[in-house]
């Protein structure tokens, strides 16, 4: 059905896809797996017509194709459900589904009767049809996702690409999605299912393609493999080599104790403590409330109840990140571009952002002192750069992340909250981030490490806190933590 032949795609500084070739058979559910940054999203964007500029060839039904736009791909029978929601919140359900292909009467007037009727037809497979006239902005995130799926269905595609379609769905909704996928397969539609959740892949896919570091590793039928093998292909080396060894054990001294904190609508009655020299991992599915918890501890948002105890002094709550810094807590945000960086500013400006007051800029020679400080940290963390005046946008994700880590190190905090610090950076840079975390524990700091990659949480943490739907369900010690047990807890099995 689809033959990808020697496709490469390069961005400034990164080779996102490197001579990738694989085939997708007609009528199958084809799983596409790989770690973040493996190149999954890039191939999706090429197949869906967003990236029109790449090397290599793509054949559909034996014919070479070159899409100029998303619309072009749709007209060739390939529709995509994108990872980021691309619904238009100010249009209603029917208008969203038919956006850009509205049935028209004369004079460009939309034929609403026909459009609503066809919307209902498309939504027939749902147990409960959605109100076609409702503004999409008023719908739940899950319903918005379903609108997106319907939007893909209405083009009558031969191939549907689903890029992480379950990232914002509850379990019940995921089951419904599986049902939809089953029906589509029965109708002869080919599905490319992109996910990093192996459980999902093994549930619904007929064959699996593995990507790593922009390269195609293998394509295998699901029946002839198991998750162990797939993981090995994904990470490319055994877990032990992936994570640097720890040299110190956490002490018994509590650095940060969290007492019964809640924030309405996000998380409830969470209590835990973090010891000196400890890495406390936080596992959970997306939407479990881990980032929300981290932000509230840090004072970026406000707690509704509960309190923090830091180095033995209790009764604390932060109303602003500044207060958290003053108390020795720092936070590396999950959303690097949105919250972590001043993209157009220099490495220097980005690095010293949290210690501007301490720099005493008005004093003489402050400039030289600042530059020296930045250079020292850049060298310590091995930031690859031309100079500290380079605009940070030009760096690779891993180096950008190191600059943000340096920003936090400069505050000389005792507790570091790292929220998905390795997201979207390459394997080498990941290893270096782990090393930095190890060094911090050697210096007696405590780290809260939030990650959606289970192997990573398991490989790095001393203890693992599992969150589900805003609750801290259980904390595993490293001894009794294993992927299956944790997955069971995260997905809502026993606690």
């Amino acid at each position: 059905m689809i033959a990808v032949h020697n496709v490469s795609k390069e961005f400034p500084g990164v080779r996102a896809l490197d001579e990738v070739s694989f085939n997708v058979k007609r009528g199958e559910v084809h799983g596409l797996v790989g770690e973040n940054g493996a190149g999954k999203s890039t191939i999706v964007k090429i197949l869906s017509g967003i990236y029109t500029d790449y090397d290599g060839e793509i054949l559909v039904n034996g014919n070479p194709i070159a899409f100029h736009s998303v619309r072009d791909a749709q007209d060739s029978g390939i529709a995509t459900v994108f990872q980021e929601l691309s619904v238009v919140k100010d249009l209603n359900v029917a208008e969203n589904i038919f956006l850009g292909r509205e049935p028209l009467k004369r004079g460009g007037i939309i034929d609403r009767t026909l459009m609503n009727q066809r919307t209902l037809e498309v939504m027939e497979f749902l147990d409960e049809p959605m109100p076609v006239n409702e503004m999409v902005g008023n719908l739940s995130v899950a319903s918005q996702q379903i609108v997106e799926i319907c939007k893909a269905l209405v083009t009558n595609p031969k191939v549907i690409i689903m890029d992480e379609p379950t990232s914002s769905l509850t379990e019940k909704e995921v089951a419904q999605l599986y049902k939809i996928i089953g029906q589509l397969r029965d109708r002869g539609v080919t599905i490319i299912y992109v996910s990093h959740k192996l459980a999902e892949i093994f549930t619904i896919c007929d064959s699996i393609t593995v990507f790593r570091d922009g390269k195609h590793i293998d394509t295998v039928p699901t029946t002839e493999t198991d998750s162990e093998k797939i993981i090995q292909m994904m990470v490319g080396r055994t877990l032990k080599m992936l994570f640097p060894p720890r040299s110190v054990k956490p002490s018994d001294e509590v650095l940060l104790a969290v007492h019964d904190i809640s924030r309405s609508g996000e998380f409830e009655n969470v209590s835990f403590d973090l010891k000196r020299g400890e890495i406390l991992g936080f596992a959970g599915l997306i939407g479990a409330g881990r980032s929300e918890l981290a932000k509230a501890i840090f004072g970026a948002t406000r707690l509704s109840s509960g309190e923090l105890e830091i180095n033995g002094s209790g009764g604390k709550r932060f109303n602003h990140p500044r207060e958290a810094f003053q108390n020795g807590i720092s936070y590396l945000p999950e959303d690097r571009k949105g919250e972590g960086l001043l993209l157009q500013a220099s490495i220097k400006e980005n690095m010293t952002l949290a210690i501007l007051k301490k720099l005493k800029l008005s004093k003489t020679r402050s400039e030289r002192r600042e530059r020296r400080l930045v250079k020292k940290y850049a060298e310590d963390l091995q930031v690859k750069m031309v100079s500290i005046d380079q605009i940070i946008e030009m760096l690779s994700g891993g180096n950008q992340q190191k600059v943000i880590v340096a920003r936090l190190l400069m505050t000389e905090s005792s507790v570091y909250i790292f929220d998905e610090p390795t997201r979207g950076i390459d394997v080498g840079a990941k290893y270096e981030i782990y090393k930095i975390m190890n060094e911090l524990t050697e210096q007696g700091k405590g780290i809260i490490f939030i990650s959606s990659e289970l192997p990573e949480v398991l490989g790095v943490s001393d203890r693992i806190a599992c969150m589900r739907e805003g609750q801290l369900v259980r904390i595993f010690s490293q001894a009794d933590a294993n992927p299956e047990a944790i997955m069971r807890v995260l997905a809502g099995g026993d606690a």
Binding site: K9, F11, F298, R322, G338, L353, L359, L361
Partner: protein
């Protein structure tokens, strides 16, 4: 070796700034050749005096633009502060009191704008469309639509005082430019102004009190506009109800030409000063050469679109080049 190149980098000016300086220099040379009256002491002095109040407004606007906002009240704040000063003079107030009255007016206006933007979360453009409308009306109401004169002689004479041969008002403009430049580069608050404009979420997460910074910037803008109002009354010796009617957009243009961006996080005081200088030299030159002065307006529009357009085109070209390289590899 690397250390040397880094230290030297400190003194390197951005290319757009070099272009702007070059433009100004060429303009000066060209006009000196074309018009015998251009490079006379008298013309230079009058040029400096005339641009002084708008330079202050440009500084005000630059701060707000760097911070990621826009302040359309700079013109009406200037007019209202000048009016308040004039009315205080009318009731026989001491000049210090009158000037203080003007400055307080500016601070109050800035606080009001800050309140709308920070607490009511209204976009600064539309918030200041509203306050500008209110302030301008208050000016008309206070002046009853008439020109307010009767500023004391000694006060008005300040406009023709020279310091080392340079008009006092322009000296003050330069002093303010230096102070603001150092404020932006050499204080934590000044650097925070850039950070908030570049990425407010990142600034917040990095412990910067973004609300305070925004407030501060609007108050500073009000205060600088009020100083502009004082300069205006010194220069004209009267307050005209329509004073500064078109200033907000004029000074936005000057600041953008000087390297600021409507998206925030960029801009410099000296860039803006060069921007407003270019505008005034152009006006002056066109006057002296007997051109229709409105050519200047047209030219400014073209310069604005091409400068901003060129920088975004550069980005597009860079990206397509990068991807082409990728294909060749």
């Amino acid at each position: 070796m690397e250390g040397i190149s880094l230290e030297r980098r400190k003194f390197r000016l951005p290319i757009s700034m070099v272009g702007l300086i070059l433009f100004n220099v060429l303009l000066f040379i060209g006009l000196s050749i074309l018009s015998p009256t251009f490079l006379t002491l008298r013309n230079m002095r009058s040029l400096m005096v005339r641009m002084s109040e708008l330079a202050m407004l440009t500084f005000a606007q630059t701060l707000v633009l760097i911070n990621g906002g826009m302040d359309l009240t700079v013109g009406s704040a200037m007019a209202l502060s000048g009016t308040i000063a004039g009315m205080l003079f009318k009731v026989g107030a001491h000049p210090v009191i009158a000037v203080l009255g003007a400055l307080v007016t500016g601070i109050v206006i800035g606080t009001l704008n800050g309140f709308l933007v920070v607490h009511l979360k209204i976009d600064s453009f539309i918030a200041t469309v509203a306050t500008n409308s209110i302030l301008r009306s208050v000016v008309y109401l206070l002046l009853r639509g008439r020109v307010l004169s009767g500023f004391p002689k000694n006060y008005v004479l300040l406009g023709s005082v020279n310091l080392l041969g340079i008009p006092l008002l322009f000296v003050l403009v330069i002093v303010f430019a230096i102070i603001l430049h150092f404020f932006l580069r050499k204080t934590a608050l000044g650097r925070s102004v850039y950070a908030v404009g570049a990425n407010i979420n990142c600034a917040h997460i990095s412990g910067i009190d973004t609300n305070f910074v925004k407030y501060f910037v609007f108050v500073a803008s009000g205060l600088l506009s009020a100083i502009g109002g004082v300069f205006y009354t010194i220069r004209i010796g009267a307050m005209i109800p329509d004073a500064g009617l078109n200033s907000p957009l004029e000074v936005v243009t000057a600041a953008l030409i000087g390297g600021a961006s409507v998206k925030g996080g960029k801009g410099s005081i000296f860039g803006s000063l060069l921007g407003i200088l270019a505008m005034y030299v152009l006006i002056n030159g066109f006057n002296l050469l007997g051109f229709n002065p409105f050519w200047e307006v047209v030219l400014l529009g073209i310069v604005l679109i091409t400068i901003v357009g060129q920088s975004s085109m550069k980005k597009v070209v860079k990206m397509s080049r990068a991807s082409r390289r990728g294909r060749a590899a």
